[in-house]
Symmetry: C2
Subunit: 264 residues, 2 copies
């Protein structure tokens, strides 16, 4: 299980302020820290970027690439911003992402074909609803692959994100278990080693005790690793959670690996 | 996933001293703490108890039962001590346990039939070797059930312990994963809801950094819970590990359960 930093988010005031001031330094500092902690890629969550998506995206991508050559997950629902990112980026880009929602099928998915990029496919219905069980998730996954093939995107380019649910939902625990089962069984069902990705932070969205949240995150992280998850998008600056991710990743690896490598 | 205390162990000096001095107080104090922390049963690891197994067992059982009515796992390889425990105990007893080793089949397994007691079955070969993969573990499980049936012990009485391996073994990580798979798939393979149990402490047997050990234990605990383990035998006085066990247990439960119940 490889770790991708989710620390770059437009919802953070420091990122918005950097954009407003055209000051790349806070972004460079943040990204440097994420690289030091061992991220294999940086999720660049820019949001839709309002009226000047090209300019905003160019600023962000250049700031990030000035300190790392790691792959970037460009995380925006705005096709213009996504296209700008794909045009500007020198690092490898993974499109984050598409779903059965019609505007994503029409505007985002074709960018993966045009730029020959990997793309994350969310297991969501076309009306953005979250599926209710494993069977529905498998159906959606199959449809995502069909749609991708039609759009000229090969199946090896797709990374499936089953969408970790908030535990605060009425059936959050049941859905969280369904997500684990989908991650575990999807490769067998599809008949090829499809890659999977999941964002951890969604699990504990909503009010709640911080310590309790971390405890649930860490337990679920171990379960994700045991299910065979390939990539987890997470707060890579949270030392304890990263330690759990590394310990879990080692336990989950089939290939031999010394557990002496965990840094406690 | 229910928690069973492994804190009563003859390997602890305080327990040996209590026996020598015929002083039940240290045992009563320890067991009271385990009960307070929410153990559903107490593993009473008496060892073989040397030349006076009946006397030693009587002392231990009476000390434990003076402070709790919880079920006791009597954990000894000495059939005379086991029989004494079954005779003396007023609380429910679970025999811990038997395997394909001939002296256990001959001397321990019949006690489960004679006293109508639940019994833990270890997935070990008759020469005490640990199996090398899932397939071997399944074969052993099937043979344990056959032997039990022949001995007049119904399958519902058996609780399977797949034996958590030390990670320090050369193939410890691979074996630890095999144990998770066995726990997950055994009920389907056997066609009935067989209960499973595992001792956590074995995982980190051997030298190593304490913090690192706890990290591996906590990650593996979450994986055990996600695999559907029914009972974990663990240090119930380790607050952090218990919190992980409870968080993991909540995530692993199919029935609805508020995650507000985790104590952080």
């Amino acid at each position: 299980m490889k770790l991708i930093a989710d620390n770059f988010r437009i919802t953070k005031k420091s990122i918005r302020d950097a954009l407003k001031a055209c000051d790349p330094k806070p972004i460079q500092e943040l990204v440097k820290q994420c690289v030091e902690k061992g991220a294999v890629a940086i999720d660049v969550n820019t949001g839709p970027l309002g009226k000047f998506p090209e300019k905003g995206m160019a600023f962000f991508i250049e700031a990030v690439e000035s300190v790392t050559g790691l792959p970037l997950l460009i995380d925006t629902s705005n096709p213009a911003a996504m296209k700008a990112g794909l045009e500007i980026a020198k690092n490898r880009v993974i499109i984050n992402g598409f779903s059965l929602e019609s505007h994503k099928l029409e505007k985002i998915l074709p960018l993966a074909a045009a730029y020959n990029a990997d793309i994350i496919g969310f297991l969501l219905y076309s009306d953005s609803r979250v599926p209710k069980d494993e069977a529905q998730r498998f159906e959606i996954a199959l449809e995502l692959f069909e749609r991708a093939e039609t759009a000229g995107v090969s199946k090896e380019r797709i990374i499936i994100d089953p969408i970790v649910p908030p535990l605060a939902w009425e059936d959050g625990i049941v859905q969280a278990r369904a997500v684990l089962n989908v991650i575990r069984t999807l490769p067998d069902l599809l008949g090829f080693p499809v890659r999977t990705i999941a964002g951890l932070s969604n699990l504990t969205t909503g009010a709640g005790d911080k310590k309790k949240k971390r405890l649930m995150e860490q337990s679920y992280l171990a379960m994700l690793a045991a299910s065979g998850l390939d990539y987890v998008i997470m707060d890579i600056l949270s030392r304890e959670t990263v330690n759990t991710a590394r310990a879990s990743g080692i336990l989950a690896r089939e290939d031999l690996f010394s557990w002496g490598m965990v840094s406690g």
